[in-house]
């Protein structure tokens, strides 16, 4: 059985949405499957569009590095970039992750 990672999304309005996600999925896939508003993910996961921006406030148990393509695209997100900014399509849940918390920005375009 796949390892389950509890993911908490904090929406623009402050609501907390908790999802039991499987390792191997990206945060973007988890958010889209959960029908979360505020994640557009136009390109579907290729780090081409910068419309799946999230502020990842906590990853417990494992780290996830920002890649080169993601690094470039993060300069072009609609909401301001911070140290917590990630393209959620590039954050893949791993077996070592215990939990993830991410805040959804107020806009993607």
């Amino acid at each position: 059985m796949a390892h389950i990672v509890p993911v908490t999304f904090v929406t623009e309005g402050g609501e907390r949405v908790e999802v039991k996600a499987e390792a191997g999925q990206s945060l973007m896939q988890v958010a889209v499957s959960a029908g979360l508003e505020g994640i557009i993910a136009e390109c579907g996961g290729y780090a081409s569009c910068a419309t799946c921006h999230m502020y990842v406030t906590e990853i417990d148990g494992d780290s996830s590095e920002v890649g080169d393509e993601e690094e470039e695209m993060l300069d072009f997100t609609a909401a301001p970039r911070t140290d917590e900014s990630r393209l959620s399509c590039q954050v893949v849940l791993t077996d070592a992750m215990e939990s993830v918390t991410a805040r959804i920005p107020d806009r993607q375009k």
Binding site: I40, C43, G44, Y46, F76, Q108
Partner: protein, 385 residues
Amino acid sequence: MDISLDALNQDPYPIYEHWREQGGAPWVPALGMYVVPRHADVVAVARDLHTFSVIDGDSLSKQIMGTTMNRREGAEHMRERKAAEPPLKPRPVQDHWLARFQALADELIDNRIEQGRMDLVRDFSAPYAALCLRELLGLDGVEAEQMLQWSAALIAGSSNYEADPVVREAADTAAEEIGELVDRAIELKSAHPDDTVISSMVHSPHQVGVEAIRSNIRLFISGGLNEPRDVCATATYALLTSPAQRRRVAEDPSLFEVAFEESLRWTSPVGLLTRRTTAPATVGGTEIPSGSRVGLLLASANRDAEVFDRAADFDLTRGKTPHVAFNGGAHICLGAWAARAQVGRVALPTLFGRLQGLELAEPDEVAFRGWVFRALPSLAVRWER
């Protein structure tokens, strides 16, 4: 309801509305395909490349242009796309191309400004789109007129279902001439790398062959020129006929970028993309057999009342607008970032900033045409000299 090619070419929007109300994916005998009119279904189908494949047999466009990346799947698609993509990413667009686009736009306006009027399509948006594309690709020395003629010949050839031999020959000639020019550019850029798409493909670690470069440059000329040309004219028309929206951009020129996106939604330059099912599929409750042609109606999805209030209005205050004019998923428009800069950050602010008192010269003559590609064939404007 009259659902003929003629009616679609005149004004597809009432027909799109009819199809959205019908729901699912209506079978349209006149087109020989199922059409997908609703926003949510278009988004879902565009992302399911496994069931709704871009590979569509021996199409006319494949016969003329060769196999291009928009008709490839998986790793092969990604290899060609990644080879061409680096110069089209937002960083090089901002740091390198933006100033170049501005220089091209200013030169075209300099040549016209004393005359006080022009056909915005013929005299500005068409040559501007052609010259920007020429620079992006790295086809040094080609005239704008030649780029436009090639583009039109390839587009006509790709939809030449009547098998008109004259149309086919013009398309084949264009494809051959582009191929020869690309070969020369490849030779040049092999020795002297630069910031262009051809150079990027030549030197890419993704290693694409000469034939792939030729085919994809044909694709970019056929599919990367009329869209920026048409959205520029459409957005200008929309702003000139919406005084309230025009006041907003005058007060805050950063809104020209919003005007660009809203124009893409309001009258999408590409109305239709086709796919072929690889297995039985269900779209919005309609069962579609394996091997069927399916048309994604991007322009219809962008007027879906489920997603957009007062969808027929051009409105800069929509906020978070997930239009699908660039398509979505792995085949999302490769030129999107360049187009945003070209039109939203350069062409529109330059036209409205430099041409004082810009207005329609012949408002009664303005008429959109087409549905697969929808555009203003001409737009007469004037300004204070």
